[in-house]
């Protein structure tokens, strides 16, 4: 039995918790430089959301330019910068920070019954690199933004405008942030789960975060090395990539894709987790095949490391080496298929509540399946010889990144919105947002499949007149897609002002975060609950012990020892 340290106040539980886990009072410590994972998560979401709007605006300029074959809106040079910045920002400043830093920080500690992440100060540092990196990236527009696409292949990126070096710095910085978050989350998930929460009792969102954290920790270093070399070559002429001075342009491609293919899974595995939370909650059913979903997440993360060269089938490598990369890429379809079928089986026999997050999660099932199937066409080397570098690739990547990651992110946003803000949003506006964006998304990107197959290369500011019809079709759909985002912003804004109070558990969900008030108190749990079973058994009593009880002073002291909390 632990004894109280001298000076510890005894009395009501909140007094004890206030002592071991005191809430900062000043505005800056509370909202700006907070070390509370929940606040940091929301900071990530606000910052990432702003960057999403900027990068989305860039996408609209791209689509406006492509309304006519000769592209009257901006010059070719500006266009190249705009699409490069759109891609870079969406990948590194929107999706990766949102799925890991945003939802990971807010939801994951709550779901494992922890009071915070393992290293709150590291978390603070990781977050603040993100807006700094974003500002550096976007301010490159002042000096000539990078223009060689988000992949920045040398040697052409060596000729790029000065902003290309700022791009290197910004992405390097966000890479450090990713690595730190990866370490933080791995330790948190390993060491800070509530008593009784074994690995197979973890919510599936936590499994997704865990696999992602490992990917970020391992893969991002390769990108950092590649970026450093590119920066040195651009700034000091150290010849890494330029063949004129003995460098190898393919070195960059290997290093870049060794990170950027796992990055695809960094962007989708947490979203798989979101889907695996939303579907059972609104179907009022246990997730179907929990273990298979969890193991397939790990399998995808492992296989994801050995497929990077499928981005390089036309780049020039020893021909036979294309075969193993093709086959391993195809093998990834197996665990992914297992997930899709398990989610469909979760719908079967349910009592489905058609809320906005449920619509987004189901829409994800359909659009992500499309993206997965076109991935198969790109994996098959002979077909890739035709499709590589065309709009078919653009269609595929938006089906997995928008139809996959963003749809899942919207599902998560609406799902945890009441938990984050304590208020409900308007369901009717939510439906409008879903249906408009779902139709407009398909209208934007579906035609790109055949545009690419019929001969339209990607990254072009002008195109042949025979492609105009479908480009106009895609552009108009993209404008509708942008309008649907305005509905979302209006809906969430109004919810903050006068939304109905949500209460702790508006959805009837069963994971731990719904057991406490909305928004959760600073210290999350009065007492860390014990976990008896996996969370998804509807109809059974909740598998948690000790949630409601207020710990006595001695018990609180024991908690403070067994679950370290940040000290100031």
């Amino acid at each position: 039995m632990a004894t109280l340290a001298p000076g510890v106040k005894t009395g009501p539980y909140h007094a004890v918790l206030d002592h071991i886990h005191p809430e900062p009072t000043g505005f800056i410590r509370k909202y700006i430089f907070s070390i509370d994972a929940k606040v940091i998560g929301i900071q990530y979401m606000i910052t990432g959301g702003l960057f999403f709007l900027i990068a989305g605006l860039l996408a609209e300029i791209i689509r406006a330019q492509l309304l006519t074959p000769n592209g009257a809106v901006v010059t070719a040079a500006t266009y190249n910068s705009i699409y490069s910045m759109h891609g870079s920002a969406m990948v590194w400043m929107v999706v990766i920070p949102l799925v890991t830093g945003g939802f990971g920080n807010f939801v994951m500690p709550l779901q494992i019954g922890a009071r915070d992440v393992a290293f709150p100060w590291l978390n603070l540092a990781a977050f603040w690199m993100f807006p700094v990196a974003g500002v550096i990236l976007f301010s490159s527009f002042l000096f000539g933004a990078p223009d060689a696409g988000w992949t920045e292949y040398p040697p052409v990126s060596l000729q790029g405008p000065p902003g290309t070096s700022m791009w290197c710095v910004a992405i390097f910085l966000i890479g450090i942030s990713s690595t730190l978050t990866g370490i933080n989350f791995m330790v948190t998930i390993f060491k800070m789960r509530a008593p009784g929460m074994t690995l197979t009792r973890m919510p599936l969102f936590v499994w997704g975060q865990f696999a992602t954290a490992a990917l970020m920790f391992i893969a991002t270093t390769a990108l950092a090395g590649a970026l450093l070399a590119l920066f040195l070559e651009r700034t000091f002429g150290v010849p890494f990539y330029d063949p004129k001075h003995g460098g190898s342009p393919l070195l960059w491609q290997h290093m870049f894709w060794f990170y950027s293919h796992p990055a695809v899974y960094i962007m989708i595995l947490p979203v798989f987790g979101i889907i695996s939370e939303v579907l059972p909650t609104f179907s009022r059913k246990p997730i179907f095949g929990y273990k298979m979903i969890a193991f397939s997440t790990v399998a995808i993360a492992l296989l994801g490391f050995s497929v990077w060269a499928h981005h390089m089938f036309t780049s020039g490598m020893v021909p036979w080496l294309q075969l193993p990369f093709m086959i391993i890429t195809m093998v990834i379809a197996i665990p992914t298929g297992v997930k899709i079928f398990s989610w469909m089986a979760t719908l079967w026999g349910g009592s489905i509540h058609w809320t906005t997050p449920m619509l987004f999660a189901t829409g994800f099932l359909i659009t992500f399946t499309c993206g997965g199937l076109t991935g198969f066409f790109l994996a098959a080397v002979p077909l890739d010889y035709h499709e590589h570098g065309t709009y078919f690739v653009v269609a595929h990547l938006h089906y997995v990144l928008y139809g996959g990651s963003m749809m899942g992110l919207f599902a998560g946003l609406y799902y945890w919105w009441p938990k984050m803000t304590g208020r409900m949003y308007n369901e009717v506006l939510g439906y409008w947002h879903f249906w408009l964006s779902f139709v407009a998304f398909n209208g934007t990107f579906m035609p790109m499949h055949w545009l690419g197959l019929m001969g339209m290369p990607r990254r072009v500011a002008t195109y042949d007149p025979q492609f105009q019809f479908w480009n106009v079709f895609a552009s108009i759909s993209a404008f509708v897609l942008a309008a649907s985002m305005l509905i979302c912003i209006y809906n969430l804004g109004m919810s903050l002002r006068r939304g109905k109070l949500a209460g702790p558990n508006p959805w009837g969900a069963r994971t731990l975060e719904w057991m406490i008030s909305s928004p959760p108190p600073y210290y999350n749990y009065k007492r860390i609950p014990a976990v008896l079973a996996a969370p998804y058994d509807f109809g059974n009593p909740l598998p948690y012990i000790g949630l409601d009880a207020a710990p006595g002073a001695e018990e609180a002291a024991a908690i403070s020892e067994s679950h370290p909390v940040p000290t100031y």
Binding site: A148, G337, L347, I352
Partner: protein, 360 residues
């Protein structure tokens, strides 16, 4: 007397089997459409290996259509029939099943088998492409910002503008770049390779349909990337011969049997010839001064590289042998004398020139 126990049939939900039948019918129609129409590629196959690629595309397209139908239609159907009933109590729950081993086994096993089939099919198609005949005609395509140049055997000067290919002639196209990475794509022939500076990528194609087709750059290469394209004109052997003669072709004697008169080589003639035939890929500096291939200025007396690239000693005979027969290196190809359109006398002159460089 043994009592027969009847296992209760699982009720899969209202209308499950009709929906399944609907999926089968829709899938059959889509597979038929995919297999018989050219859509969505919508381009004629204008040469080998395009028909094989299209066949693989149609096969994959059929499989994808079936999977798409299964996922989409069942998802929508489940969403409709299992929606919460209007009169259901607020705490109504769904069927509490956690897993079903048999189901999970099959939906892992069947995709696995399918992927094995698709992988084998893709591999076979890949092998066919690798074995596509070439080498009757060899053309070099060189990308630059922002255009293409083509070099034909027995033509002294590179050809700008359209590329010409004779019908039904197995052709090898070596592609490389002078500055940054470009793409070389002929959509109608379903072939593409990146043009990487310092590296030679090889495409093989046999044009089978006469016509004019685009050649398109597919790797971002700078401000005018969108306009970087040219055409390939596939024409009859006679028309090609006529065009070729106009370009000043067909002058060198490329006899392969005569002995190479090494002793008669002239370094001065060799120097001119080096400028025409070799300097696009080789510098006259030291080995490390690479363009596409190594620098040749010290080929006979380089202490850092005491052997030739094929492992032979750097004697004039061995250098002449590489010039004559070409060499397939780890990352690049040295074309043969026939491809380079140089005669035995030319080889002797080149060797004499290289020897004079090494003496300096």
């Amino acid at each position: 007397m043994a009592q027969r126990t009847v296992k209760p049939r699982t009720n899969l939900g209202p209308g499950f089997w009709p929906v399944t039948a609907f999926i089968v019918v829709v899938s059959a129609i889509m597979v038929y459409f995919t297999m018989t129409s050219g859509w969505p590629i919508g381009l004629i196959p204008a040469g080998e290996p395009a028909p094989a690629t299209d066949e693989l595309f149609r096969f994959l397209g059929s499989v994808a259509a079936v999977i798409f139908n299964i996922v989409t239609i069942y998802t929508i159907y489940f969403g409709i029939v299992f929606a919460k009933k209007k009169n259901a109590p607020p705490n109504a729950i769904g069927v509490q099943i956690h897993d079903a081993f048999v189901l999970e086994f099959w939906w892992t096993a069947i995709p696995t088998i399918l992927i094995v089939i698709l992988a084998i099919y893709s591999t076979k198609s890949w092998v066919d492409i690798q074995n596509t005949q070439g080498d009757v005609l060899t053309v070099e395509a060189i990308g630059y910002q922002f255009g293409y140049q083509f070099r034909y055997p027995r033509l002294a000067a590179p050809v700008s503008g359209a590329m010409h290919l004779p019908l039904n002639t197995p052709t090898t196209i070596h592609v490389t770049s002078r500055d940054v990475i470009h793409g070389f794509w002929i959509p109608e022939m379903r072939i593409k390779a990146d043009m990487v500076p310092g590296l030679i990528n090889t495409l093989r194609v046999t044009p089978t349909v006469a016509g004019t087709y685009p050649i398109i750059c597919t790797e971002f290469c700078g401000i005018a990337h969108g306009g970087m394209k040219t055409t390939v004109i596939v024409e009859s052997q006679q028309a090609f011969g006529k065009w070729f003669a106009q370009q000043g072709g067909a002058h060198a004697n490329t006899s392969t049997t005569a002995a190479i008169p090494l002793s008669a080589g002239s370094a001065d003639t060799g120097k001119t010839l080096f400028g025409q035939k070799c300097s696009a890929c080789h510098s006259t500096g030291p080995f490390s001064q690479k363009l596409v291939g190594p620098g040749l200025g010290q080929i006979f007396n380089d202490a850092g590289h005491p052997k030739l690239v094929n492992g032979a000693d750097p004697t004039p005979q061995n250098v002449a042998s590489i010039l004559k027969n070409g060499y397939q290196g780890d990352i690049g190809v040295m074309p043969s004398a026939q491809v380079n359109a140089i005669s035995n006398t030319d080889i002797a002159n080149l060797v004499a020139y290289l020897a004079s460089l090494s003496k300096k």
